[in-house]
């Protein structure tokens, strides 16, 4: 069925207002888009790792979630969902439940790339029928912008501060979507917010309605941690995909497919320039750092093109 924004926006919201995420936060946009991909008649159970999203959407006695929801800890959204999905299978088998449920787990990059990595890897390898969504804002924002393995190289964070001897984070970011694809799960994809949300919506729909484990890596900007004017969220996302810093692709049963190729690939500066966390890179003496970043982006982009069978 072709994507139609109007139809999609007509669906009842499954996340309520009144949550306490920051103004302009990307995470609830990711959540809304995910949940919109559910058929309205399907029930869902949501798991969230401890994160900004969790503590802000579920502050006792107020929950923003209209579906059943459970949070247990930071590092175990994958395992917690494994249990919920296991319960569903058992209860269906025993004839105690008739309804169809879908299972969606959310984690930030801390709960996904780092502390929750083992639990997620286990859940994906066991191929539970669930979708794990990482809303990746590239640092531990909930505890105050500490670096994660999703933090881009040279980003200024509170544990990789820029100083006389430091230009920010030393290491490049981990390629989590590729790692998840390497689990040989039926569906893995990377996306972010673009235009009418078609790309993310379609990926969300595939992830939810593919039998077995699915993983979605969603770049969800954090105005506070990235230090940009909060209204510029969509501009930043566009720059991320047009510079090929954040490529959008999917891996369906092991087959890599590029989802978006910019008409004109922009220099990495276009992504970096509006963000305070990269401000130091624009000092004249740091020109070589940007050049180095550009090389890394190009290398990864070309590698991806090859995987996707695209012309380099």
């Amino acid at each position: 069925m072709a994507y139609n924004l109007k139809e999609q926006m007509n669906k009842p919201e499954r996340l309520s207002g009144g949550h306490r995420m920051c103004a302009g936060c990307g995470a609830p946009i990711a959540v809304r888009t995910m949940l919109r991909a559910l058929k309205p008649e399907d029930k869902a159970t949501i798991v969230s790792a401890t994160s900004c999203l969790e503590v802000s959407t579920f502050l006792y006695p107020y929950t923003a979630w209209k579906d059943s929801f459970i949070h247990t800890a930071f590092e175990n959204a994958g395992a917690t969902m494994s249990g919920v999905e296991g319960a569903y299978n058992a209860l269906r088998r025993k004839g105690k439940l008739d309804e169809t449920y879908k299972f969606i787990a959310f984690g930030g990059d801390g709960g996904t790339y780092d502390i929750g990595f083992q639990s997620l890897s286990g859940a994906m390898e066991r191929n539970h029928d669930m979708v794990y969504v990482c809303y990746d804002n590239g640092a531990y924002m909930n505890t105050g912008i500490q670096r994660s393995s999703a933090t881009p190289k040279y980003a200024d964070t509170t544990t990789t501060p820029v100083g006389t001897e430091s230009s920010g984070k030393i290491q490049p970011r981990k390629d989590m979507a590729a790692i998840m694809a390497a689990h040989n799960i039926p569906y893995a994809a990377q996306t972010t917010f673009m235009g009418n949300m078609k790309d993310m919506h379609e990926k969300a729909e595939k992830a939810i309605y593919t039998k077995g484990a699915a993983y979605l890596n969603v770049m969800a900007p954090c105005p506070r941690g990235w230090r940009y004017d909060e209204s510029k969220l969509m501009e930043i996302c566009k720059a991320a995909v047009d510079t090929c810093y954040w490529p959008c692709f999917e891996v369906i049963n092991g087959e890599w497919k590029l989802s978006y190729r910019p008409k004109e690939k922009l220099p990495i500066e276009e992504f970096l320039k509006s963000q305070g966390r990269f401000k130091h890179l624009f000092k004249p003496e740091n020109k070589h750092l940007i050049e180095e970043m550009q090389k890394e982006v190009d290398r990864r982009w070309n590698e991806l093109l090859k995987k996707c069978g695209e012309e380099v």
Binding site: L5, M197, M234
Partner: protein
């Protein structure tokens, strides 16, 4: 948000009446929370300019742009935190930002 006996859970609730394990019954209870008072700037909907493309609606982090019958209505200021993402994406200048 109420407990099963129908008592409102607020700062006066006694331990005997609080929900076990912090369970919250029913979904979407945060709709009672006014986050509109976080706002310093406010988006204003200029209906005449709006072409109902709806590009503003999926990018709202706060579900503050209600849709009815495929058309957007005025902002729900009870939730809107005034981030201005909608203002930035509107191709028709149908949203303007004003100071509160």
């Amino acid at each position: 948000m109420k407990n099963k006996k129908g008592m409102v859970i607020d700062e006066n609730i006694k331990w005997q009446d609080i929900t076990p394990g912090g369970i919250v019954y029913g979904g979407g209870t945060s709709e009672a929370v006014n986050t509109g008072d976080w706002r310093t700037k406010k988006p204003v909907f200029i209906e005449g300019k709006c072409k109902q493309c709806l590009l503003c609606t999926p990018v709202c982090p706060d579900m503050s742009i209600p849709i009815k019958d495929g058309k957007r209505a005025d902002f729900n200021y009870y939730f809107c935190k005034g981030c201005g993402i909608c203002y930035e994406v509107c191709p028709f200048d149908a949203i303007k930002m004003e100071n509160e």
